[in-house]
C-alpha cells in the first residue's frame, strides 16, 4: 500500500505537512507526498480535515 493525495479534495491547509514527522509532505498550493521519505505512519491521513489522503494498492 502507499498513500496518495486526491488533489481534487486537498484544500492546501497544510495540516498534513505540519503533522508529518518524516517531512515527507510538500505543499505547493496542494499537498504531495514524497514516497521515498514516507514511512506510512498514516498521521497525515488522520489529520486531513478533507479526507483527501487515500490508500492505494501498489
Amino acid at each position: 500500500m502507499s498513500l496518495r493525495i486526491n488533489e481534487g479534495l486537498c484544500l492546501g491547509c497544510s495540516l498534513c505537512l505540519i503533522t508529518c514527522s518524516d517531512e515527507a509532505i510538500e505543499v505547493n498550493v496542494t499537498a504531495a507526498i514524497n514516497e521515498e521519505k514516507c514511512q506510512e505512519c498514516f498521521d497525515c491521513m488522520d489529520n486531513c480535515p478533507a479526507e483527501a489522503i487515500e490508500e492505494v494498492a501498489l
Binding site: 484544500l11 492546501g12 491547509c13 497544510s14 495540516l15 505540519i18 480535515p49
Partner: protein
C-alpha cells in the same frame, strides 16, 4: 451496533463545540463531544513543526472579563494560558505608517493620515459617528459603497480595504455597511487580545480536560456519519471510530461543523425550504492565505503588535507571535505570521496566484524577508477549512427547523461579531436555549 445514551452530543471540538460543551456540563448535562481529527480545537489549535508551535488557523485570542470565550473557561475553572499582546496597532499605507495611540482617540488622526486633509477627515468622522450612534446604514449596500458617498480618496479606501480584510475577513465591497458598524460597536466587547503561550492546542486541551473531569467525554478520531432524525426531532448520530460504528442517542445534537454540513449529515429533506434557501442564497465561506515564516530577526524591530496593510494586493495582517510568546519558537528564532485575502471571496479561489501575491506583498514590504526569513509553510484556508464558514453580515441562527438540533461556530456568528469570540457567543446562545 453499540448504543450509547447522552444528554447532548456535540459534533466537532472547535471553539463553538468545546465552549458549548463546557456550558452544558456546567448546567449538569452529560455531554459527548466527538472530533474526527486526532486533536481538539479544529481551526483554533496548534501543531509542533520543525521546533515551532504553529497555529492551525486562528492566532489572536479574545479574553478578559466580557469575553464569551473566557467565560466558558471560567465556568469550569479551566486555566487559559494566554499572554496579552501589549504592542501597538499599526497601519501601513503607501506613504508611511500610523501607530494608533493605545490610550484611544486615534480615529481622527488616522483618517487625517490616510486622507491628507484635516477638514475632509473631520467630515468623515462625523458621518462615522452618526452611523455608529444614530442611524445604522443598510445592509443592502456594501461598506465600500457607504464610504464612497463621502470620499473617493484612494488611500482612505485602501485603509479600509485592509481593515475589513484583516478583521472582518472579506473585502470592503463584500462587507454589508450595517454589519461594518455593528462590528465597530462590538469591538470593545472583549477589549483584550493575546497569544496562547504554548500554542492553541494547550488552551483547548485545558477546556477539554475540564469537561472530562466532570464526567463528560471528548472522543478524538471519531467521525459523524449521519445525524438521525425522527418525527422532526434529532435522536442522535451514527459515529465511527477506527472502523467501529456506534449509535449515540442524545436529547440534543449540536453541530460545530457549519450549517451546510449539518444539513448534509441530517438529510436535506428534513429541513424547511426557507432554512435551506437561507443557506443556499449565500453559501460563501471566507478564504484566507496564511504564510508562516521563521526568522532569526523579528523583521520589524520593536514591534509586538498587529500591523494592518493598505498598500498591498492581498497582505492584510502581520503578527509576530514570538514577540509576545517566545516559547513558540526555538531560542533565537521568531515566527512571522501573515494573513492574506483574495480579491474576491465569492469567486473560486485561484490558489497559486493568491499564494504568489501573498509572498510578493510581504517581500515588498519587508525586504529583509528575502535575506533572513525562511518560509515554514503556506496554508490556504477555504472550503471546509476556511477562515470563517460564512461571511460576516450573512448570519444564520443557531436554531434549525429541527427543534433539538443546533449549530455553533463561525457558521452562525451573531451580528457584529467574528471569529473566536463569535463562535463562543453562538455557543452561549445555544446553551441558553437548553435547560439544565
Amino acid at each position: 451496533m453499540k448504543k450509547t445514551k447522552t444528554d447532548a452530543l456535540v459534533i466537532g471540538s472547535g471553539v463553538g463545540g468545546l465552549t458549548v460543551a463546557a456550558r452544558l456540563v456546567n448546567k449538569g448535562l452529560d455531554v459527548v463531544v466527538i472530533e474526527m481529527l486526532p486533536f481538539v480545537g479544529g481551526r483554533f489549535s496548534s501543531r509542533e513543526y520543525k521546533g515551532f508551535t504553529v497555529t492551525t488557523g486562528a492566532i489572536m485570542i479574545p479574553f478578559g472579563g466580557r469575553s464569551a470565550f473566557q467565560e466558558a473557561f471560567d465556568l469550569l475553572n479551566a486555566p487559559m494560558n494566554v499572554r496579552e499582546t501589549k504592542g501597538a496597532f499599526r497601519y501601513r499605507l503607501k506613504h508611511g505608517e500610523f501607530e494608533v495611540p493605545q490610550k484611544g482617540g486615534g480615529l481622527l488622526p488616522l483618517l487625517e493620515f490616510a486622507m491628507g486633509d484635516e477638514t475632509q477627515a473631520k467630515t468623515l468622522l462625523r458621518h462615522i459617528h452618526l452611523a455608529m450612534s444614530w442611524k445604522e446604514p443598510s445592509d443592502q449596500i456594501s461598506f465600500r459603497d457607504w464610504l464612497s458617498q463621502y470620499s473617493d480618496n484612494t488611500e482612505l479606501h485602501n485603509l479600509y480595504q485592509g481593515f475589513c480584510g484583516a478583521f472582518i475577513g472579506t473585502s470592503s465591497n463584500e462587507v454589508p455597511a450595517g454589519e461594518f458598524f455593528r462590528f465597530l460597536r462590538g469591538m470593545d466587547r472583549s477589549n483584550r487580545y493575546g497569544i496562547s503561550v504554548n500554542g492553541n492546542l494547550e488552551v483547548m486541551q485545558s477546556l477539554a480536560s475540564a469537561i472530562e473531569q466532570r464526567g463528560s467525554a471528548v472522543r478524538l478520531q471519531t467521525a459523524c456519519r449521519g445525524i438521525t432524525v425522527k418525527n422532526g426531532r434529532a435522536t442522535g448520530a451514527h459515529i465511527e471510530c477506527n472502523g467501529v460504528e456506534e449509535m449515540i442517542e442524545a436529547d440534543y445534537v449540536i453541530s460545530n461543523t457549519g450549517p451546510s454540513m449539518t444539513v448534509k449529515m441530517a438529510g436535506r429533506s428534513n429541513f424547511e425550504k426557507s432554512y435551506l434557501a437561507l443557506l443556499d442564497d449565500h453559501p460563501f465561506p471566507t478564504p484566507v492565505i496564511h504564510l508562516c515564516y521563521s526568522s532569526p530577526e523579528p523583521i520589524h524591530d520593536d514591534f509586538s503588535g498587529i500591523m494592518n496593510f493598505g498598500n498591498t494586493k492581498s497582505l492584510v495582517f502581520l503578527e509576530i507571535p514570538t514577540m509576545t510568546c517566545p516559547e513558540l519558537a526555538p531560542a533565537g528564532q521568531h515566527l512571522i505570521t501573515t494573513f492574506n485575502i483574495p480579491e474576491s471571496s465569492s469567486e473560486p479561489l485561484k490558489l497559486k496566484e493568491a499564494v504568489e501575491n501573498a509572498k510578493r506583498d510581504l517581500a515588498d514590504n519587508f525586504p529583509i524577508v528575502k535575506k533572513s526569513a525562511e518560509l515554514l509553510f503556506t496554508a490556504t484556508h477555504h472550503g471546509e477549512w476556511p477562515s470563517m464558514r460564512r461571511w460576516p453580515g450573512y448570519p444564520t441562527p443557531v436554531r434549525t427547523p429541527i427543534v433539538n438540533l443546533y449549530n455553533v461556530g463561525d457558521g452562525c456568528m451573531p451580528p457584529g461579531t467574528v471569529g473566536i469570540e463569535a463562535s463562543a457567543l453562538s455557543a452561549r446562545q445555544v446553551a441558553e436555549n437548553i435547560k439544565g
